[in-house]
């Protein structure tokens, strides 16, 4: 296994050449300057099995991404738990396979985050090659950043006292 110095992973998924698809990446860049050494902020365009390698060794992981469910106005920030992806067809292909990856880590005894949350913003257009966001997504970006930071603060309060004598 890889030795991680941080306990918490913020993993941003997306492609910043695809307009709104990159909103998670932009949020990650804004967050990166506001966290301490207990948090790693990572951007990726990969998914599936690559998630195993990216998430391995962390105590907690927060995924940030874009989705098109068609059920919420663009700019809405939605929270999912990994269990949601067991029940429904994954609304974004980025983490299609997340439950499988978790199960695989378990079967292969690979250390994997015990706590996983997913924050995703409903977006308007992740299908056109362009740089920059649609208006509702641009406006809602600060919300995504704030919610991410809020979860990180909650987690840090939980992990720091438990860190006595352990890595996390």
């Amino acid at each position: 296994m890889s030795e991680r110095s941080a306990c918490i992973l913020v993993l941003a998924l997306g492609n910043d050449l695809l307009g709104d698809d990159g909103v998670g990446l932009e949020a990650a860049r804004q967050i990166a300057g506001q966290v301490d050494g207990s948090v790693d902020v990572v951007e990726t365009g990969e998914a599936g099995l690559a998630l195993l390698e990216l998430m391995e060794g962390y105590e907690r992981a927060l995924l940030i991404d874009s989705v098109v469910t068609g059920r919420y106005p663009p700019g809405t920030v939605i929270e999912f738990s990994p269990e949601d992806f067991r029940k429904v067809v994954a609304p974004s292909p980025h983490y299609a396979g997340l439950p499988e990856v978790m199960e695989m880590a378990h079967r292969l005894q690979i250390p994997f985050p015990q706590h996983i949350r997913v924050l995703a913003m409903e977006v308007l257009n992740p299908y056109d090659f362009r740089i920059g966001f649609s208006e509702p997504v641009q406006e809602a970006l600060p919300q995504l950043v704030q919610r991410t930071l809020r979860i990180l603060r909650q987690w840090q309060q939980k992990t720091v006292p438990a860190a006595e004598g352990t890595r996390c």
């Binding site: 365009g45 990969e46 067809v89 695989m104 079967r107 292969l108 992740p126 299908y127 090659f129």
Partner: protein, 508 residues
């Protein structure tokens, strides 16, 4: 009214009504199937409940060409590798080779070897992912296994936890090596026109030589697993050779000067359904051989051989439909350039007793043979005396105009074509991605599987999986043209009766 006019009028009315009806049938879709980001298979039955047509659709990413125009061509190895997270190295390498051509510059021999080394490492890693994770459930676990077993967990259960760990660990080491050579796996920065950005430090060589040795062991082990699990099971062999999964098309692949499979370079060779060489051409001539057909129901363009022509979704020597990917590469070549892969190649064609092999599902076996070739080539290259040379680049001096690059992506032949002004600013961009080369045959495979599995309106259990198997064998990567992952794409299969009503739906 004159009777003949009346007849013509009525016929026209009937056709118009039918066209309208088809339109309506296409629109009458359950709301869930309209979710973006899904693959869709729509199957239309006739009055007798037999399959009339089946359509396989994937969502599209739009505007890549427009996005690229006006940008420096030199940015393309980075931009195109970010089209998707699935085969960045293939796009990176095709773009780099297009830049070599654009600037009329040949990389020095060590640089060429480093590129080929990185490329074979990528091929091995990507093929391993397909064999064990994406396609593995169809074969290692078995096509008739219960749905809850038909995934990577079923594969682990079948091959054992230790082997599962070995797959993950080997893949990780291969990816670390690619990262060493080219920066991030997803956004490689290895290739430059006329060479590479970075070489291998002599002190790092021993650990990569060790990795190469392990990688070859792993590939040979995988071949053994395939032989034990699949080839010794008559039911699997019957399935592979069944008519449902068979099409007699042309085949395309890159070959070296001895007509042996090569992933990184060579000429594009095409063989006919009876195995005769139909064409052999340099990448720059691709437009003389390949044309694209457009269908109103699909975003994907269907490639065909210009000289043979588009005859609809039909196979045989008269139809210009061709196939790429592992099976096509083996069919389009005369052999493999490394010893163990050559042995496996001979066994492959001897077992089927024919060449070309027309069975789509044989792609899985061909993929394993290619893993052996990639691993053997890695061993050769990492032990090459030139591999630590620092002679890595020839600086271009000519003015750019047109450049075409080609590689064999894991999923088949990939063309990049750029045209620029004299300052190297892009004026035209055309990419033909592997899945596009395969799109016509893939559409045929989906329809044929549906026709074999639906009769009298009765839809058999496991239809979705069997239809999926038909295209999963190609390892399609719609991420180049779509926002999706191979094998992981949310997929909905809908069967409509002759009145346009939904009679069956399965999703994944």
């Amino acid at each position: 009214m004159d009777e003949s006019i009346q007849t013509v009028w009525n016929e026209a009315q009937t056709r118009a009504n039918e066209a309208y009806y088809v339109q309506r049938r296409r629109i009458t879709v359950d709301p869930i199937t309209r979710l973006e980001g899904h693959g869709k298979i729509d199957i239309f039955l006739n009055e007798q409940g037999e399959v009339e047509r089946a359509y396989f659709q994937v969502p599209e990413l739009r505007g890549f060409e427009v996005f690229s125009l006006g940008r420096p061509a030199e940015d393309m190895p980075q931009i195109t590798s970010r089209i998707c997270g699935v085969c960045p190295t293939a796009h990176h390498m095709a773009a780099t080779k297009a830049l070599d051509d654009l600037y009329r510059v040949e990389p020095p021999s060590p640089a060429r070897k480093i590129r080929e080394l990185a490329y074979n490492t990528f091929m091995l890693e990507d093929h391993a992912l397909h064999v064990y994770v994406l396609g593995g459930p169809d074969f290692i676990v078995g096509p008739d296994a219960p749905p809850e077993m038909r995934n990577v967990l079923g594969v682990i259960q079948t091959v054992g936890v230790d082997i599962g760990k070995r797959v993950i660990a080997t893949r990780r080491r291969l990816r670390e090596f690619i990262a060493y050579l080219g920066g991030k796996v997803v956004h490689p920065v290895l290739g430059l026109p006329g060479g590479v950005a970075k070489g291998i430090a002599p002190e790092d060589l021993p650990r990569f030589q060790e990795l190469a040795k392990d990688a070859l062991d792993f590939a040979l082990f995988t071949l053994q697993v395939f032989q034990d699990v699949v080839l010794k099971n008559q039911a699997y062999v019957d399935l592979i050779t069944s008519d449902t999964y068979t099409h007699r098309t042309y085949y395309m692949g890159l070959v070296d000067e001895k007509n042996r499979v090569n992933f990184y370079d060579g000429k594009v060779r095409v063989v006919s359904p009876d195995g005769k060489e139909y064409a052999k051409f340099a990448a720059q001539a691709y437009l003389d051989y390949i044309a694209e057909h457009v269908e109103p129901w699909s975003y994907v363009k269907f490639c065909y051989l210009k000289g043979v022509g588009w005859k609809g979704f039909t196979d045989g020597a008269e139809s210009g439909i061709y196939s790429v990917a592992p099976l096509a590469r083996l069919n389009a070549s005369d052999g493999m350039a490394t010893p163990e892969a050559q042995k496996a190649y001979e066994q492959f064609f001897n077992t089927f007793g024919q060449k070309p092999v027309h069975h789509t599902l044989a792609n899985h076996w061909a993929r394993v043979i290619e893993m052996v070739y990639a691993a053997e080539r890695i061993v050769e290259l990492i032990n090459d005396p030139e591999i630590t040379s620092q002679n890595l680049r020839v600086i271009p001096t000519t003015s750019p105009t047109v450049g075409v690059g080609v590689v064999e992506a894991p999923r088949g032949t990939l063309f990049h074509h750029y045209e620029t002004n004299e300052d190297g600013i892009l004026r035209k961009v055309n990419l033909i991605v592997a899945t596009q080369n395969n799109s016509a045959r893939m559409a045929m495979s989906v329809e044929k599987a549906a026709k074999g599995l639906i009769h009298g309106g009765e839809v058999s259990d496991g239809l979705l999986n069997k239809v999926e198997m038909a295209f999963r064998a190609y390892d399609p990567c719609h991420a180049c043209a779509t926002h999706s992952l191979p094998g992981q794409m949310p997929l909905i299969l809908t069967v409509y009766n002759a009145h346009g009503e939904v009679v069956h739906q399965q999703k994944r």
